[in-house]
Amino acid sequence: MDGESAKITAIALTTLAPLLAGLLCYIAPGRKSRNVLISAGIVSAMAGSVLLFLLLRGSPGHTIRIELGSVAIPGLGAISANEIITIAEITLAAAFIYLAARIKAFYALALSIAQLGAMIWYEFSYAPAHGSEHAVRILIDYWSGTMCLIVSIIGSLIVIYAVKYMEGQHSQNRFFAYFVGFLGAMNAAVFCDSLAAFLLFWEITTLASYMLIKHEQNTESLQNAKRAFQLNVIGGAGISAAIIVLGIACNISSLGEIAALEGAIAPALMLGVILLCFGAIVKSAQVPFQSWLLGAMVAPTPVSALLHSSTMVKLGIYLIIRLSPAFSHFPAVGYMLALIGGFSFVSTAIIAISQNNAKKVLAYSTIGNLGLIIMLAGIHTSLAISAAIILTIFHAISKALLFMGVGVVQHEMHTRDIEDTEGMIAKRPLIATIILMGIVTMIIPPFGVFVGKYMAIQASVAAPWMMILLAVGSAATVVYYVKWFGRLISTDREMERKPEHMSTLFSTPLAALLAGAIGLSFVIVQVVAWFVDPAVASMGYDVVLQAISVEVVTPSGYISSIAIGASMAAVLLAGLMIKLDDSKKTRPYSCGIEFPGELGGMYMHGYAGEDKVNKYVNFAGIALIMIFVAIGIIAMAVGKVM
């Protein structure tokens, strides 16, 4: 097998195989055959992603570029790849219109019709007349490769978990069709350089997420699915508008061209980039669009895990980071993005303090972390992008771990309320420990998310005012996670060791993710050297993050995760060796009697309650987004980039 066909195989394994497995799941006759299909889909995705990354290392310039020209189909002759994409897009748009009409989502209906009309006009009337090229370009660099690894490996682990979680539930065929297909669409989206193809897979993820959110088919899930659908259609419309603006005014049809632009920049390009970022902001559920991701909590937990950690919301992040080199031409865009992201970070961190629903806390935490990443992409220095990539990787792992842990609790204890899980460490030590480790890897050094945050602070030297948002946001983040951690471990006596059964389909992905979260944090020097630095370099930045022996060295500081981790582990081990015999045990102090009451609270509703804060947050969010888009329109009007 020569290099070229190996690359095509790897791409097909990561994209077409899960999509196909998903399609076949729809018509699978039984549980066994469906499980075989699911396994085939995820195994090929995992194998393909690793193969692709290895091929990437060997490729010239560390990028894989493939132009899909025309495909010969027996009986029809040659069809250009672009036409296939266009046809698929129109089919999808028609499906969207049908869906929107059926669920009476009128905004989405109007937008979809407008979008369909515009796309048909653009693809069939404008583009051929102006001699646009027909090839669909695929560009895979380290950033796409890293994303593909995240999607394929973490996504697959979530799929394994979902198989057990969904056992005995209705319409599993449809569920897994979208679930497994999601991975393929996600991988395909990060590979596409051509905007039209990117939009297609973007919209497929919208459709799949809609189907997954409404899986339960009750009033609440239908309603929330509708909201998710409506908002994401707005985002998709942003991307479509961007394609048309970029195509007409700048003759640009691919992401790579935008990032690599030099010299004089047309104002239309700025508008196009703003529209693309707008789509990404919706996808990543930033304020004021956060409601769709919060509503998506009604879906079964594996769906939340999938949407929050490795796929869907990460597509918006991927796009913004991909576009970030272009922000140097128009600083206003970067600045506004940083503001929107930073604002999302701080506002969701504060609201999360008031939540007692574990999944909602996680949802707010996701939005906050994505906000942080978007803020870093807006700052768009090399260090900021490195931090953003580190955060993307480690956030995906830890968040998947947390969601799946909470899912096990929900599955077996039927509660999402943090107050109900008080003292869970004594009742279910195994699963409690997993959630605890998830929290630890989110906030405590030397784990990856912490290193990302550490670098984020250094990166914000380039945009000092963002630091205010960052400082308040990270303090609030610590508060709600520590509070949760505290609830889980609050017991009044030593826990009893008792065997705890957990299905292998639950424990395997959880163990793998836990090992990943801890292991990768300890070898963060290698992570930087293998994934982060090459990805930053492949987007055209100078590499400023150095991995020297055991230290990650930034331009203005250094951190040694191994040294910190080893010292903390040593203390922990020493502590574990201390024996506390029964004669040294006593009851908690409660004025000489048994503690009579219940503990709980500290939700700070007066400061952080949704009902108090939401109106301001949404107002500010809408204002920021409107200013953001307005900047592009003003730039067009005055004919000058800002």
């Binding site: 006593t586 009851r587 000489g592 009697i593």
Partner: protein, 187 residues
């Protein structure tokens, strides 16, 4: 005297428990904390928490309701520890000694090391009691509780009248459990 023993004498932390006192003794204890008497100069701090404390001050007679509380507080104090009964009621039950609900002094429940009689005792007497209790701490080594061989100490009051010896030292008597029956029907 090793450094630990020396430190022990220099930093007695106090837990004050009011069993069923009329608050006369308690006010006198609080008076010790004021700048006039300034017991902090001996390193004495009022901690309000048995787990941090070395010295337990008990005021008032023990009744059926608070005997378990007193026992629990005593049990939650890490060794070495000393107990001081303050006032007539704390020492013997005082004028309430034959009241239907009163068991007697603190020594019915916990081993008392020092009695500070008086109704109420003067702050000087209380401080003297604490200092005398520290003498007992000298007998303790390496954090293990060695039974004092000297028996309980009775502090002489400021007016010099030596009170009658307090109730028999109750160290050997088993502490009542949660299930022990009250002696009267009402309780």
């Amino acid at each position: 005297m090793g450094i630990v023993e020396k430190s022990r004498l220099k930093s007695p932390w106090i837990l004050h428990y009011d069993c069923s006192s009329c608050n006369g003794c308690d006010i006198e204890i609080l008076a010790c904390l004021t700048p006039y008497y300034d017991i902090e100069r001996f390193g004495i701090l009022s901690k309000g928490n048995p787990k941090h404390s070395d010295v337990l001050l008990v005021t008032g007679g023990v009744n059926h309701r608070n005997k378990t509380v007193l026992k629990n507080l005593y049990d939650q104090m890490p060794a070495p520890k000393v107990v001081i009964a303050i006032g007539a009621c704390g020492s013997t039950g005082g004028i309430f000694h034959n009241c239907y609900n009163i068991l007697g002094g603190a020594d019915k429940i916990v081993p008392v090391d020092v009695y500070v009689p008086g109704c109420p005792p003067r702050p000087e007497a209380i401080i003297d009691g604490v200092v005398k209790a520290l003498d007992k701490l000298k007998h303790l080594q390496n954090g293990t509780w060695k039974e004092p061989e000297t028996g309980p100490i009775v502090v002489e009051t400021a007016v010099g009248a030596k009170p009658a010896p307090a109730a028999k030292y109750a160290n050997a008597a088993p502490a009542p459990t949660l299930n022990s029956q009250p002696t009267n029907k009402e309780a």
